[in-house]
Amino acid sequence: MAFKEYRLGSAMVGGALGLSMIITIFMPSFDLRSAVSTKMALEKQLSAGFDIGFGYADPLLLGINRPLTVVLDADPKTGAKFDPPVTAYIYKPGVPMPPNIRHPHDLGKGVQDLSEGLGQIGSVSGSNHRVGTREGVVFTVGLGEFDGEELSYIENASATRGWTPDATLAAAGDKNTFKISQGKTEFVVQGCWWCHTLLPEQTQDWQVFGAPPYLGDFNGENPTAFGSDRKAPDLLHVGSRNSSREWMLLHFFNPRLVQVNSIMPRFDYLWGEKDAQGNVIDYDKWRVEYLDYANGKRVYPPEVPDYAPDSEIRALIDWVLSLK
């Protein structure tokens, strides 16, 4: 180590790497931090909640301690009818907060001001992002005006309207409750994103897969799971192309039921052991009957069982249909 040229060399390696990191990380960070959340970003953030990947609240990625999305026809507190219906995001006690409740700056100029002012997100009590709150919180997306511009913002409906998680959940009922966050967890865990991208390309995807996203469409999302290896249709706007729950049901159970040439794996195991009526699903029998159908020995394929309300497939379909 006595030779000065090696000290110089080491310093130059550090200098070069440092410079490269200044250009590729420090400088873009100003652009990226100035992104203003769009309505799409707020809805995605509130419905997905805190990081979908490995975390303390859900270390095994089972989809537990996750927010619920509900569609309300009436105000859970006053009973006043809503037209059109209002979407609310229920964070029960112990469910980690969405990331930008703790870091409102990342909402972007205007959205931050509105969320902290009209939306009262600063009043979320004990807003530790990891452990959630003691009483739970209900959020909605509000529409306000900032500097003459219409912007969506996060509204803490528990503070502004006095909604509690339990009352909101009861008002919505199971039919209007969507397990979008758990569904995105399934998307990540089952590796759907190894084939289905979430990024329509700026050059040619407009007509088939919909508009490519804007700068502010991702604020508060982790992971973004764009995907890189598209072996299947892009899903960012899939809910706008196909909103049929029945089609999804058939397609997930065995994609070859609706598209004979599909190479998608069967996700029948997400149904679990029992169907909606509580009967045990006989997968072996189903497969034998399907094979008969595929070989032309049956005219119709066997019936796909209805999923149970607490099955994983319900959450996954909820999430897929939420991608508008």
């Binding site: 070069a16 250009i23 490995f54 270390p59 390309e201 069967r266």
Partner: protein, 469 residues
């Protein structure tokens, strides 16, 4: 014996123990990784192959294949070469064989744990940094840091005046990959979100390739080619140009991986230009090695290590031509996200990089075991299986990618693209299975080498001896 060394004194451990340990671990993970690759490819060709079980679904297996190959095979082969090349080039012993063995131990345990958790679905959902962040930290602190310390301390304790280009790469790359893992995983440590998360994911992925896999593989060739041919390196100065231009140009174009996302336009343009400039280190490397071969091209046929090394170097030519230009906007819009990229990734990792490492592992294991390779015939079978398997894979995926690209811009219904790709998916599976079979042969061959290979006399190199079978 391993247990004895792990708890024993550093002085009592024979030189080369950690290289041997790393070498066999690397081959083992290569067999596992390519086996998984073959399995996954079968599922893409025949979707109802092993169906209805969560753990054997494609989405649970794909990332295990990728990381088993990158962290298990490629990186462990790198560690293996560092364990014997760094001291040899410094005319000294490895700084600590014991630390080397512990690193290998931690590596195998950490990687097995990480791959198992990934397999059952515990993931961060970020490509190439899929492991849950505590496991990222284990890999960083338990594997990369001790490796870096061992390499840099060995270089510091060298008994030669200069530092050869290979050691420049080894010392700086082990350090830089640590920085890359630290910064690249920050979205998980600090819960960054949105485009920052997406960008850092690809910053991490790009720099793992740019500051770890590509330069270390090249550094290996800078050692093996002069050693095997007996020719001195054509130009140490061109080697330095390679080194410095890698650090300056290869560390910057991360955003060309997400050209179609709404990240700042200046960043994409900058990345695109820097991406083309990677041709400078690339051409410097290939030219330097090819000129070093001058007058010794018969070894390309006669000597198995040279055969593998030069194939890797020659594969670097299409690799760099693809890599330099496919990320420019004018080409990227056509092939982004298609099988072309999959083909390119395999050209880099299974083509160029793997061939260079296979040669170095052959060379190093013979050297450290002091035994001649058991069978040339088996080694040749290994070579041709990996090469032909790779070529089938690369060509079929390139064609599939071009089909996908055409389908994309002409807005063909997606299912028609899937139908058109089907034959190439079968070819991909055949190619991948050939690579896997070749590696099984290799594992057997090296195992037999360790047991019954002819002993190499003191002071001789294994490649100077005639082959036995």
């Amino acid at each position: 014996m391993l247990l004895k060394y792990l708890t024993g004194k550093n002085e009592d451990i024979p030189a080369g123990s950690s290289a041997i340990f790393f070498g066999f671990s690397a081959i083992f993970w290569f067999v596992v990784g390519t086996g998984l690759g073959s399995f996954n490819a079968a599922k893409l060709a025949f979707p109802d192959f092993v169906t209805g079980t969560e753990l054997f679904a494609f989405g649970h297996m794909r990332q295990v294949h990728v990381l088993a190959v990158i962290v298990g095979w490629i990186s462990m082969a790198f560690a293996m070469t560092m364990m014997y090349m760094t001291p040899a080039l410094g005319n000294t012993k490895l700084w600590s064989e014991k630390l080397g063995l512990w690193t290998g131990m931690m590596w195998n345990i950490g990687l097995s744990t990480a791959l198992f958790t990934l397999w059952i679905g515990i993931t961060s959902g970020r490509e190439y940094s899929d492991f849950a962040w505590p496991l990222d930290l284990v890999i960083l602190l338990g594997v990369i840091a001790p490796l870096c310390i061992n390499v840099i301390m060995t270089i510091a304790h060298r008994r030669t005046q200069g530092i050869y280009i290979t050691n420049w790469f080894f010392g700086s790359c082990t350090f830089m990959v640590g920085i890359v893992l630290l910064v690249g995983n920050s979205p998980e440590y600090f819960h960054l979100t949105g485009l920052s998360e997406a960008y850092l994911t690809w910053w991490n992925a790009h720099n793992l390739l740019g500051l770890w896999i590509t330069p270390v593989a090249a550094a290996i060739a800078y050692y093996t080619v002069p050693k095997l041919t007996g020719n001195p390196l054509y130009s140490h100065r061109i080697g330095h140009m390679h080194f410095w231009s890698i650090i300056v140009f290869y560390s910057t174009p991360a955003s060309h991986h997400i050209m179609s996302s709404p990240i700042p336009e200046w960043l994409k343009s900058f990345a695109s230009v820097e991406g083309v400039l990677i041709l400078i280190p690339a051409v410097a490397f290939v030219a330097n090695i090819l000129l070093t071969m001058k007058g010794k091209w018969t070894l390309f046929v006669e000597n198995i290590e040279t055969k593998f090394t030069m194939t890797g170097v020659l594969l670097a030519i299409p690799l760099n031509m693809q890599g330099g230009f496919q990320q420019t906007r004018s080409i990227n819009w056509y092939i982004h996200g298609t099988g072309w990229i999959v083909a390119h990734a395999h050209l880099a990792l299974l083509g160029m990089s793997t061939f260079l490492e296979i040669a170095a592992v052959y060379f190093g294991l013979q050297q450290m075991l002091k035994r001649k390779v058991y069978s040339l015939a088996l080694a040749n079978i290994h070579y041709w299986f990996v090469l032909i398997g790779f070529c089938i894979y690369w060509i079929s995926m390139t064609i599939a990618g071009l089909i996908q690209g055409a389908g994309k811009i002409y807005e063909v219904p997606y299912i028609d693209v899937v139908i058109a790709e089907h034959p190439y998916m079968i070819a991909r599976w055949v190619g991948g299975t050939m690579v896997f079979t070749g590696n099984l042969v290799w594992l057997f061959n090296m195992w037999m080498t360790a047991r019954v290979g002819t002993l190499v006399p003191e002071g001789r190199y294994a490649h100077e001896l005639a082959y036995d079978r």
